[in-house]
Symmetry: C2
Subunit: 601 residues, 2 copies
């Protein structure tokens, strides 16, 4: 029997008991849906993930894509799985009915994503990139562009990519060199090299729609001179049929530590007569368009990290329940029978660390997805604006916390299996390798720290932070009235107060113009802030679980809710405690790293 890679009961808890997504069905956009529809879709995703995605996860890792100079070869299971995915309509989960979409809420779509990603991150990568690209066109494409490029993506005939980085410009997009020269016919000729392009070449779809950041000569320097272009692998005729091969070519596949099922490429644009590109929106606003989609892309990365962590957790949990090994420290009688691993306190620590990271991470990511739904469909403009503000605040944490701490969870999963976990006969080592990507792409961990401390908490005189803290305070107020939860309510209140103080203090220094020193410990700030946010998510879950426990009808439900309370307690007592020293450090404006001389390393 194969071991599930996502916990359906927890998804149900998050979506219905925590986020009340049924309520979304009262809104016009989702009026055709109800819980039955959502359940059917989630059920289909689970079945498909288990039957078509998970089975080739290891095989795709061990047989990574190859390039014969002409074409990229990928094991056939990938295309088979994606065909089923497309046929079931998952490519258009969030798109409008009139272009063939399902008009699902983001929270449901993200839940489906987590199911597919946990089962097979490499195969799931192709559609998720495609969905990301199609979403850009949905927001900023012309009707003609939507017809020509977006709709075939929704149909799954075309796949998409996002081409931002270049070999010399990763974190520093300001320094990209790809050029876009305007032509008399209104098109552009694109030339340059794009690096780390996932899904950049393959034969999985009829065409590939590259969304490419490039600079129009004569425009402003830096990010203000970046424009966004559609550059299809094959030109598309007016009737939608495919035309000539465009001048974009695979220069090489990157060979990664993990995430091997997804091709990752260096692409050459315009080596010959220039790749034909079509401007999206206006010139020089490319980064704005791209970043406008960034919140959702970054939720996707965070959720991907959660999903890999979750898959490792469930596997190691199953192993711990069935592997006999050793006895309690006080029971050394060698003739007594051995305990299952799960009876050992330190194994339970490794499992609770995973459980608190992955279930907390899932709660956070789906909370953020629910905010995307609010942003797009809440009735009042105020509610929509509030959702945007909260999303802006939370995005760096949503992206970075799971990337860092669910990777740690994957490390623990290996440890539970011991030597077996270190072999390729078990999936946990692959999850660990796959997840190591997440702190790097879509803005590194360090970049997220700068985004949070340097921009987000300071924006609009801290209005976003105040709003977020007021939401957290609501949770604290509820929890403080429950004797079981008041310990956590107090701890979270102390944590947020302390973070508020630290933020004020660093902020004052930023205002004085000591920018570089003030931001020198931004990553520590990010981790501290993230731990508090996760503690909040745990308190939210604990409140719901506590209330549900009183009415739990089955032993399984009772154990489930008690597990939530225990994981909350673990997170507060073993994890949230870390933030005190971090707060002192950040507040002190310690210059140890900032002042370190390069030659003293």
């Amino acid at each position: 029997m194969s071991i599930p890679t996502m916990n359906e009961r927890d998804l149900e808890f998050q979506l219905y008991e925590m986020l009340d997504i049924e309520n979304l069905c009262n809104r016009p956009r989702f009026a055709d849906h109800d819980r039955e529809v959502f359940d059917a879709i989630l059920g289909t995703a689970s079945k498909m993930a288990a039957e078509l995605f998970a089975p080739h996860n290891a095989k795709a890792d061990q047989n990574e894509p190859t390039f014969d100079g002409e074409k990229v070869h990928i094991i056939p299971e990938v295309k088979e799985a994606l065909k089923a995915f497309i046929d079931a309509g998952f490519m258009g989960m969030q798109h409008d009915y009139d272009v063939g979409g399902m008009q699902l809420p983001s929270s449901v779509a993200m839940a489906c994503n987590s199911i597919f990603t946990g089962a097979n991150v490499g195969t799931a990568g192709y559609p998720f990139l495609t969905v990301g690209a199609s979403n850009v066109l949905r927001s900023y494409g012309t009707d003609a562009q939507k017809k020509k490029y977006m709709e075939p993506m929704v149909e799954g005939r075309f796949f998409g990519t996002m081409c931002l980085s270049e070999p010399q410009a990763g974190s520093s997009l300001s320094d990209i060199k790809t050029k876009a020269v305007p032509q008399e016919d209104g098109t552009y000729r694109i030339s340059g090299n794009k690096m780390w392009i996932s899904g950049g070449e393959h034969e999985l779809s009829e065409n590939i729609v590259h969304l490419v950041l490039a600079k129009v000569p004569g425009g402003p320097a830096g990010v203000k001179g970046i424009s966004l272009f559609i550059v299809p692998k094959y030109l598309v005729n007016e009737d939608g049929s495919l035309g000539a091969r465009n001048d974009v070519h695979l220069a090489g596949l990157n060979h990664k530590m993990g995430y091997r099922g997804t091709t990752n490429t260096l692409l050459n644009f315009g080596e010959n007569d220039g790749a034909v590109g079509y401007l999206i929106g206006e010139e020089h606003k490319g980064l704005f368009y791209m970043f406008h989609m960034m919140n959702e892309a970054r939720i996707g990365v965070g959720l991907g990290a959660v999903s890999l962590g979750y898959a490792g957790y469930l596997y190691s949990l199953d192993y711990a329940k069935s592997r006999p090994q050793g006895r309690h420290p006080d029971g050394k009688d060698p003739t007594s029978s051995q305990l299952m691993l799960i009876e050992h306190a330190d194994i339970k620590r490794l499992l609770l660390a995973q459980k608190s990271a992955v279930e907390g991470g899932l709660a956070l990511c789906l909370y953020a997805a629910r905010l995307v739904d609010e942003e797009h469909t809440a009735e009042s403009e105020e509610a929509r604006k509030e959702a945007t503000m909260l999303l802006d605040m939370l995005t760096p944490v949503v992206k970075s916390w799971p990337s860092e701490f669910c990777l740690e969870a994957n490390k623990h999963a290996i440890q539970v299996l011991g030597g077996y976990g270190y072999t390729r006969d078990y999936p946990v080592e692959q999850y660990y390798r796959d997840n190591r990507l997440n702190p790097i792409h879509e803005g590194t961990h360090g970049i997220q720290g700068l985004d949070l401390l340097g921009r987000k908490v300071m924006m609009n005189n801290g209005a976003g932070l105040k709003l977020l803290f007021s939401k957290i305070q609501e949770t604290i107020s509820i929890a403080s009235e429950d004797s079981t939860l008041s310990e956590f309510a107090s701890a979270l209140e102390a944590a947020t107060n302390r973070i508020g103080e630290v933020t004020m203090s660093v902020g004052a220094n930023l205002m004085k113009g000591e920018v570089n020193l003030s931001l020198a410990n931004a990553t520590i700030y990010l981790d501290m802030f993230g731990h508090a946010i996760l503690a909040w998510q745990w308190l939210r879950q604990a409140i719901t679980a506590k209330a549900a426990l009183a009415n739990a009808k089955t032993a399984e439900d009772k154990a489930f809710y008690e597990g939530k309370l225990s994981a909350c307690q673990y997170f507060y007592r073993y994890e949230l405690i870390r933030i005190g020293p971090w707060a002192d450090l950040v507040e002190s404006l310690d210059d140890t790293t900032y002042s370190m001389a390069a030659d003293a390393f």
Copy 2:
């Protein structure tokens, strides 16, 4: 130009400036040596590591050993490197002259190990296992056994293994099932399966000497009934020539995430008529013999973790110095030239985290190796006993701290390289995969915690802990008189006082018989304790560096010593601060993990 995998300047600092190994040459065993000899040996190791070990590190990883049903195939570079290693006498570094050894101090031998391991952990694995096995025979073998099995190992004609684990018994050696049935001729017939046997099969040597833990029927249950046997792959005739193939066979190679250059095997003993085994020492004392060698084996594991961390650190440092990317937060002018990565505070944080872990880890491991020298060659019995006590205390930390935190360093090295670090075109991802083994083997991280809190600090009414703390206090006293270092002296004093309190408190509870709960957070205790020990090692280094700085003659030396002071500062301000919350947690005897019900996960 290839990038060094070990810092020779730091080794020089550790061996001569910190540990004064020249002083060992006053002792009879090392009287033939002097600094020139040591330098020549270290120089040979460095040259050989760079020219013969490092070049095939990636190739061996990508072309792991294969088994054709008859023989194991390993890329030829491994045998070539080992031939040079053997020819230079490294297999007998610590053995006596009269068996062809070099009679080197353990501290020098361990320094050489670190050089080879950093260059290529897979290839270095074979001789280090052989050295371990030959050391067991040196201590406990009969003269005849030494002649027959140990001397060919010193000559490099035979390789060795340690066969402890079985498929069903990893951490719990009490439950091994391999049987040893006495024969009339005084030999035994061994039958059973041994798992995770590194170097268990290959064609690199004429013969393989397996040291095998097995149970003689009728003996005591559990670990008290374990005996230790020599089981050679080929029987050895009286004249030293090879006889018949013994009944020990490769059942399969394990396919690991990393450490792939070293074969790791499942071995079947006695599938046919029983493998011939020769008892070492007395029956039922096998675990004692094995554990007597454990201190050195565990120093080897800790040092291996340091070496892999060090190699990653040096690579990422070199990369950070030569890769331009981005600008300071306050310098966003896109027309200004980019900074090197190493100018960014957060990159310096990633480098300082690595530097403080690997240089601190190296200091600790070589300090422990120096204690091995004291244990064996100090003039007074008192000094030898003191060394043993300190070693017993430090061993769990020496094994576990680098395994955990130099793995973290390898994670940081990848982060410095960004996307490039995630590809197999750069060595840092391999170091990360290789190092993931170290928290698992030679006693898992959790086992080390139980060893430290459950045994070591409690032994002899805490005599070992008191001795260790008195040594730390000596360092604190010296540092507290220096205005630059007094901040660290105070912090370390507070840390050790707090650890003392926590230990007393938990110890009192242990005495009351609440063993399982008292030890439930032993791993947290281990990490806390380890951080204090590392802080101590950093203060020792800072004292030496501060004194040397005043007389530093070259800019390089000045930068080197200043780097030591900065890394010390980093460790205290960014790492040691973690122990406060850990101490509170351990002291509270928190039962969150201990009490968690299996069905609530």
